[in-house]
């Protein structure tokens, strides 16, 4: 048991050490992005990896979270640490009717339905101007002055955002870890492998999937809320585009579908790629996203983390 917890403890130690030892704000920015993408990849992975339900519309849930958080802050003055979880909650609430509708469909049909839902959400965000400010979007100009342990929080530094991103990523990974060992997780794997058989042994498959989608939406919504505060700007193209949904898919797939650590690996990998090629060509990182996606599906469909785990498991078994 002890050995199993070692990597997790090591990971937490590294996460705490990063802002203390490295003062480069660009590096910290990259770390924040990685953690944010980890949360989003994990959100997608809960549904796509464990339950095998491929969603091409997770940007819709991200958008609900981002809009809820930013509107609560700008109109109600609600602080980020309330606004972000509430954003997650709002996304979870919205996801329930979406789930009840779309889960009547299976496989590729479900994927297409989520795509349509996301496009509808984007249209609503564009046109419901009294609430969403339309294509103009919302901009946060000042963040609240906050004192924590007697020190005032400096929002211009990256450190508070880093701390928040770490917290969210830990929540996301713990949730995934819990799910893997839970009864619901076992249901989901059964659904992924053979939905008819799962139903035949008495699993309420629709309920299991709706609950999972809500969980996934909660994580994606919190990711959206975090995005709103970190980038301080929300508009339909930024938070509800099809590209965003795809990036979540890629992170989960490249990292390793249905694994706990996969989204983190996927996020590190893809953020690194994006930042490395960004200077050279503007949209270039998407070429590599596409390419890696194809290579991973072709040569290691279990993803990077899945492959690593299989190899290490093999090594331990052999020893």
């Amino acid at each position: 048991m002890k050995r199993r917890h070692l990597p997790a403890l090591l990971g937490v130690a590294v996460l705490i050490a990063i802002p203390l030892s490295i003062r480069n704000s660009f590096f910290l920015h990259v770390c924040i992005l990685i953690l944010m993408w980890t949360v989003l990849g994990a959100a997608w992975n809960v549904l796509g990896g464990f339950a095998g339900q491929v969603s091409f519309g997770h940007a819709a849930l991200f958008a609900v979270g981002a809009y809820t958080t930013i509107i609560l802050y700008l109109k109600g003055g609600l602080a980020p640490w309330w606004g972000i979880p509430l954003g997650g909650l709002a996304a979870a609430l919205v996801s329930v009717p979406i789930g009840l509708l779309c889960f009547r469909l299976r496989g590729p049909y479900f994927a297409l339905a989520t795509l349509a839902v996301a496009e509808i959400v984007k249209l609503v965000a564009l046109n419901w101007e009294s609430v969403t400010a339309g294509s103009v979007g919302y901009l946060i100009t000042t963040l609240p002055s906050v004192r924590l342990f007697g020190l005032s929080v400096n929002w211009e530094a990256k450190t508070p955002f880093y701390a928040a991103a770490v917290a969210l990523a830990v929540v996301a990974l713990l949730t995934t870890g819990w799910l893997r060992n839970s009864r619901l997780g076992a249901y989901l794997v059964a659904i992924r492998e053979n939905e008819d058989a799962a139903e035949a042994v008495g699993i309420d498959t629709v309920r299991a999937k709706v609950v999972t989608l809500a969980l996934s939406a909660f994580l994606a919504g919190m990711g959206g809320g975090f995005y709103a505060f970190y980038f301080r700007y929300v508009d339909p193209d930024a938070v509800a585009g099809i590209g965003l949904s795809m990036e979540m898919v890629f992170i989960a797939v490249v990292g390793g579908l249905g694994t706990v650590g996969g989204p983190l690996i996927g996020a590190v990998f893809l953020t690194a790629v994006a930042e490395l090629v960004r200077d050279r060509f503007q949209m270039g990182h998407l070429i590599f996203y596409g390419l890696f996606m194809m290579l991973v599906i072709r040569f290691m469909p279990e993803g990077i983390w899945g492959r690593v785990r299989r190899l290490t498991a093999g090594a331990t078994a052999g020893a």
Binding site: G52, Y109, I242, M283, L286, M294, I297, P301
Partner: protein, 286 residues
């Protein structure tokens, strides 16, 4: 009344081209049970083919159909042979994700090479005529006629030739087709080539009537899903009906419903059909 007739006509004209894109997607789905998310990029390549053909070699876009359609067929066959064949046994979700990757790769390579500029093709006969007071753009009308010709030819191919029959048989029941001695592997290859060629040809035909930009495929693929789901995935007549229906709905919607939610009508229709008639509006699909 005149507005109604006008939007009906332009809806049908555009719809026929939508239908052609939809047919490509639907025959591929019928035979291989895969949804090719990169289908929109094939259309985009056809559009750019028409553009560069005119720009570099002064080739009329509609004449360049004779060049690009066979080329796209070969590209589709190669794509199937070299890339997709290894993926398909991994299951439909793997294929879906793989083609999503392919779509991103092709669209962004195009963006890198051709930049994101909006381009248009101007034709010497790119005028609008007004028979019975209804405005019709000549390039769109030519595209419409050619689309119908291609679709009819395809229909004849599918119903009259041995290969066409083999494609339909595989689509209905792959196992039985193997037992009947059909080389399903070859059928799949030809079908994928055919689907790609149709997408490319539709792109060439659409090019004079639409703005060209590398990520146009994203918009088209979503429309394409709406079409094939309306008609029933796997059904060719369904795709034709679905394409024309979507063209008309969009065109009427732009006039009679708020222009802002115009695109939303298609999606709502799409969801409603997916939920209540998943086999398609016309029940022809399976």
């Amino acid at each position: 009344m005149e507005t109604f007739a006008q939007s009906l006509v332009s809806g049908v004209l555009t719809g026929a081209l939508y239908a052609m894109i939809g047919i490509g997607l639907t025959v591929v789905f019928g035979v291989m049970r895969i949804i090719n998310l990169a289908h929109g990029e094939m259309v985009m390549l056809g559009m750019f083919g028409a553009f560069w053909g005119q720009k570099l070699w002064k080739l009329d876009p509609f004449v360049s159909l004779l060049v690009w359609t066979p080329l796209m067929f070969v590209a589709g066959v190669l794509l199937y042979r070299l890339l997709l064949r290894k993926i398909i046994p991994g299951g439909e979700l793997n294929t879906l994700l793989y083609t999503a990757g392919l779509s991103l790769l092709v669209a962004n390579l195009a963006l890198l090479v051709w930049t994101g500029d909006y381009r248009t093709i101007s034709l010497s006969y790119g005028v609008t005529v007004r028979p019975f007071g209804i405005a019709i753009a000549v390039p769109l009308a030519i595209a419409f006629v050619l689309a119908i010709l291609i679709t009819v030819t395809l229909g004849l191919f599918l119903s009259r030739t041995n290969l066409g029959r083999a494609i339909r048989a595989t689509s209905q029941n792959p196992e039985a087709s193997v037992l009947m001695g059909i080389d399903v592997e070859r059928v799949a290859m030809v079908t994928f080539g055919l689907g790609t060629a149709l997408a490319g040809a539709a792109g060439v035909l659409l090019a004079p009537s639409l703005y060209l930009y590398p990520t146009v495929g994203e918009l088209l693929i979503v429309k394409c899903f709406v079409i094939v789901v309306l008609g029933g995935l796997g059904s060719v007549p369904g795709a034709i009906a679905g394409g024309i229906l979507l063209g008309v709905v969009e065109s009427l919607g732009a006039v009679y419903v708020s222009g802002a939610y115009k695109d939303g009508i298609g999606f709502v229709l799409f969801l409603a059909v997916l939920l209540y008639r998943p086999s398609g509006l016309f029940g022809a699909g399976r």
